[in-house]
């Protein structure tokens, strides 16, 4: 969080975290497409030749004046493949909140679980308190074959107690519910901190 007191701006960072191909970049692409131009920056994507996220995607959102402040949100994604663990840790630095994107397909649960563990480990190493850090869970790809039921996903992943949203990010379902829940959580935490 960075507060520019002279201009009344509060800058907050939300990181979309999750396994490779779970839909993190798709979330940002949909948000970019459906947000008025005056309220968003360019969508920056650092991709490999195979069109996979190499370091991060980045998008800034503004929401206008709220009371006496102008909140601005920096949305980042992390690369999802297992071997980019170091990059994910770098992107988490300075985060004010995380959206964890779960791939609903049965054969991706091990990847989801591994990425959840890595997220927790990185957050702890970076000095965050997991009890109070705002994490929102998006259960994505509800429209594809081989998806597990929501109760089964809750049983397989340690997401109990976190705000959870079902989504089909490629069609936009659940994208803004997730985003708004994360923004609200981050703002509430910032309110406590300031």
């Amino acid at each position: 969080m960075f507060i520019n007191w002279s201009q009344g701006e509060i800058n907050l960072k939300i990181v979309y975290y999750g396994a490779g191909m779970s839909g993190k970049t798709t979330n940002l692409q949909f948000i970019y497409a459906r947000t008025p131009q005056k309220l968003r920056s360019q969508l920056i994507s650092l991709k490999t030749h195979q069109d996979r996220t190499l370091l991060f995607d980045f998008l800034q959102l503004e929401v206008g004046q709220v009371a006496n402040l102008k909140p601005k949100f920096k949305l980042y994604t992390v690369p999802g493949q297992v071997y980019y663990d170091t990059s994910r840790r770098l992107i988490l630095q300075g985060a004010d909140g995380v959206v964890f994107v779960v791939d609903s397909q049965a054969d991706r649960m091990d990847d989801n679980a591994e990425l959840w563990r890595s997220m927790e480990r990185h957050l702890v190493e970076l000095g965050y308190d997991l009890k109070t850090f705002p994490i929102v869970v998006q259960i994505n790809k509800r429209d594809v074959p081989n998806t597990l039921s929501i109760p089964e996903i809750r049983r397989r992943l340690p997401i109990k107690g976190y705000p959870t949203f079902e989504a089909v990010a490629i069609k936009g379902y659940g994208v803004f519910d997730t985003l708004k829940a994360s923004m609200s959580g981050v703002i509430a935490a910032a309110h406590q901190a300031v």
Partner: protein
């Protein structure tokens, strides 16, 4: 407990703007820019009115963090973190300032790299003096109690 991060006061930011402005007067500077390692832009001086500072901050921080991680994996012990890019039209230097800040300058190609490197180092030290001497505690409360409710109503109007 919420993880605390530095909060700069208006007077600190004004002082940092002044330092970047001074830097720009000493040589042919395209841009002088300060952000933090999480990619938040803090202060800038630029001769290019339409420069995308938001994207610049995210990319400069990502670039420096990736370079620092390469050094760490190779066993490097940090004395100074600096990335230098030499282009046909300009030279770009990205440097870590203290533990959490990033200073980027872009100079015309006729500015000697040695001078630029020294200027970045000295400006970085002066920025640290500004950040370090002033209080790092937040100014008085400005987020009113109904701020969260107002915020939630606002984002429902947008999306």
């Amino acid at each position: 407990m919420y993880r605390s991060q530095p909060v700069l006061s208006a007077s600190q930011l004004t002082a940092i703007h002044g330092l970047l402005g001074q830097l720009s007067q000493q040589a042919h500077m395209r841009c002088a820019f300060l952000c933090d390692l999480s990619g938040q832009e803090l202060a800038s001086w630029t001769e290019q009115a339409e420069l995308d500072l938001v994207s610049l901050a995210a990319l400069a921080a990502g670039d420096l963090m990736a370079t620092m991680e390469i050094a760490r994996l190779l066993g490097g012990k940090r004395a100074c973190n600096m990335i230098i890019q030499e282009h046909d039209e300009m030279t770009i230097l990205v440097s870590r300032v203290g533990e959490g800040l990033v200073l980027l300058i872009a100079t015309a190609v006729d500015v000697p790299i040695g001078w630029s490197r020294l200027a970045v180092k000295r400006t970085g030290e002066r920025i640290l003096e500004v950040v370090g001497t002033a209080a790092m505690t937040p100014p008085p409360l400005v987020m009113s109690d109904d701020f969260v409710a107002s915020f939630n109503a606002q984002i429902d109007n947008i999306w």
